[in-house]
């Protein structure tokens, strides 16, 4: 290996409250090489990035040796190199761009400060964006998530850094946009001989981009090996768990029976724009329908209409035996017992001022089910059904992990014994092993309770394991539907093929 661009020796980082976040971390990164830092949330990935650019929170202490180009990289050096020798791209591009300034202005400012001698259109073209002057006059809110992320990369590259740190840059994007970002990064790395530190919890992205993989767990290096070795022969137990969670079983067989869901020619608006146009869908009792599509395809609008949380027009609309939009007030309230939802963001799915027990009691109180003793027993039963410990009952959401919160959200949805459960990206925000657990839980519930599922996701692997049928949405229209095995193995529509290509 050539001389290391970045060399880290026995790095320890400790926060003020005494938590050791990184312990004895050592690695080298050469120019033109991509090292992927893989690990679940809380493993210390982002702390590593912050240490390298000298942006640790106040009171954090570091030990060990960092060298960049052979020079010692202390706080002062990191501050000097930040944005020059070392560039950084964050997960949330929307929060990192100035919302009220045109992207061309922001870029030209960075280019001028770096005295790079390149124009805005050069910089935009390099990251595969439209290099015309009209594109540069747009504001960040006029761009898609993928385009914003490319602008962020162009900004990070303005001063021609030799090391680029990309922290979860694809996590907030749908698979198509994510794949495009990965392609841009791969090309830049090749053309500029960038040393790339690619921080992610996405195995697919890591497999696509990395030369070597550094697996972090609880702040300690669990494995540091070549990519091929990592994926072929997982070097540790934890790596095996991660990989096993990613490779899931075959699609279930097509379920048939009486329909729990029968929808014809459904149209609905979102934010006063048409979001769904002439959707047909059907689901037999006990079946699971996967709804896939890129962001903005109308997936979440579909979920909201199925729950009668927003209105829609349809020729036929039978959801769990009724059309909620023609029901009387009282009838609709009792209809709600039969259809429930689990949302994506476990952080906001539970009222922060209610304990777990109060959250689970709410549906019972709303519908006047049982008395104090039977309700308390029901709460324990619900906790057990989502494999949570009864001792969690008096806790507040802030005291729970993401996976625990999502289990509580599922338990709340089950409290009224629904026939149909709609999961809107219910596992997307969770770490991979936790995702696998939640998916297994949903499978169990489906089998044991005869629950019907509408599983909305952009994660095709999750859809494949859980759903017997699939519907592909593009810009509010159904472009393809059928049995999971057929659609995912023999896709007919170009959009389905693109989605599939982006997730393998």
């Amino acid at each position: 290996m050539s001389v290391a661009k970045l060399s880290v020796r026995q790095l320890c980082v400790r926060y003020r409250d005494g938590d050791v976040v990184l312990r004895d971390l050592s690695f080298d990164l050469a120019a033109g090489e991509c090292l992927a830092v893989l690990g679940e949330s809380g493993s210390g990935k982002s702390t590593l990035a912050r240490t390298l650019i000298g942006l640790l929170p106040n009171g954090a202490r570091t030990n060990g040796e960092l060298r960049f180009d052979g020079e010692v990289l202390d706080i002062a050096a990191a501050a000097r190199l930040r944005g020059r020798g070392i560039g950084m791209v964050f997960q949330d591009a929307a929060a990192s761009l100035h919302p009220l300034r045109r992207i061309g202005v922001q870029l030209s400012e960075a280019l001028r400060r770096a005295q790079a001698g390149r124009t805005v259109s050069d910089a935009l073209g390099e990251v595969g964006l439209d290099a015309s002057s009209t594109f540069a006059t747009r504001y960040p809110y006029e761009l898609s998530g993928g385009q914003r992320q490319r602008v962020m990369i162009a900004l990070a590259l303005a001063a021609s850094p030799e090391l680029l740190i990309a922290d979860e840059v694809t996590s907030a994007l749908d698979p198509l946009a994510a794949r495009e970002i990965l392609d841009v990064l791969a090309r830049l790395q090749r053309d500029r001989r960038l040393a790339l530190l690619f921080i992610s919890h996405d195995l697919l992205a890591v497999r696509h981009l990395a030369d070597r993989v550094l697996l972090l767990r609880h702040g300690v290096v669990d494995a540091l090996v070549d990519k091929a070795i990592f994926f072929a022969t997982p070097p540790s137990d934890y790596a095996r768990v991660l990989l096993a969670a990613a490779v899931r079983g075959a699609a279930p067989l097509l379920v048939s029976g009486t329909a729990v869901l029968q929808v014809q020619a459904l149209s609905a608006d979102y934010a006063e724009r048409p979001a769904l146009r002439d959707i047909d869908l059907a689901l037999p009792r006990g079946g699971a329908l996967g709804v896939i599509g890129a962001s903005g395809s109308g997936k979440s609008t579909l979920a909201r209409v199925l729950l009668a949380l927003q209105s829609g027009h349809a020729r036929t609309l039978q959801i769990a035996g009724a059309d909620p939009f023609v029901l009387s007030h009282a009838a609709r309230k009792s209809w709600r017992r039969r259809v429930q939802i689990v949302f994506q963001d476990p952080g906001m799915a539970l009222d922060p001022r209610m304990t777990v027990a109060e959250t689970l009691l709410e549906p019972l109180r709303l519908h006047g089910i049982g008395d104090a003793t039977t309700r308390a027993a029901r709460v324990l039963e619900l906790l057990a059904s989502v494999q949570l410990d009864a001792t969690l009952a008096p806790r507040y959401p802030q005291q729970l992990s993401g996976g625990q919160k999502q289990r509580v959200a599922i338990a709340r949805a089950l409290a009224l014994d629904p026939e149909l459960l709609v999961c809107d990206e219910a596992v997307s925000a969770l770490d991979l092993p936790v995702q696998a657990e939640i998916l297994a839980l949903l499978q169990d519930l489906q089998r044991m309770r005869g629950l019907s599922l509408v599983f909305i996701s952009h994660d095709l692997a999750a859809v494949r394991v859980l759903c017997d049928r699939v519907l592909v949405l593009e810009q509010g229209r159904v472009v393809e539907h059928g049995a999971t095995v057929d659609v995912l193995l023999r896709p007919q529509h170009a959009h389905t093929r693109a989605l599939l290509a982006a997730s393998t």
Binding site: V339, P352, L366
Partner: protein
Amino acid sequence: MPGDRSLRIAIGLFFVLALASLVGPWLRPFDAWHTDWTQLQIAPGITHGHWLGSDAIGRDVFVRTLLAGRVSLLLGFGAGAIALLFGLAYGALAGTLGGAIERLMMRALDVVSALPFLLIVVLLLTLFGRSGVLLVVAVGVYACIDLARMLRAEAARLRVLPFVQAARALGAGPWWLLTRHIVPNLLGFAVVYLSLAIPQAILVESFLSFLGLGLDEPSVSLGGLLAEGVQELEDAPWVLLAPGGFLAALLIAFTLLGDALRARLQRPGVA
């Protein structure tokens, strides 16, 4: 936590001021309205008993300042309570209901806030006489407009969050959402804003009293005392400095309290 320390300091300062205005006047043998013709414009000191001196007609400045502080605090909290009650009800209701009702309620609020507040208060005070109750209500209504607007925005943000949507999907109606989810999550926000609205109310009352539109004699208020102090600034500056200092300390205590509470509310994990 640094937030906790500044919160403790703010609460400490506030309690010292409140306690002083509550029991302070009883520490001295003087009556606030007793005029002592032998003790005109005495400078502050310990030996003669007038700790903060006396004014042009021999009244004790210490007792009068703390009594006025009592009035200001009472008025601030009264106006604050009115603002909290109406602002919370109005804002939370508009934000929870949404749609046309929300727009109508907020436009009505825009109309009210476009009215010249001070002019109307002055008019009311001249029409109905200078009463404390009227002053408290007027200042409370004034503060409640801003509070309602802010709480409406916050309630509208909460309304679309998954936990509120999940409750709707469970069959909860607007009243249930309002009382179980929206209002409990708004309270922290409302209290922070209140800690900024109360000093504003105190300031508005002082301003009106300074102009001679506040509470009638023989009641004392900080603004009234400031107006008297200005008259004697050259001969007896302590008559101005004592109520002025007390008012400044009171406002600083509230501002610190508001900042510390806000910092505490914004800590991660508390939505």
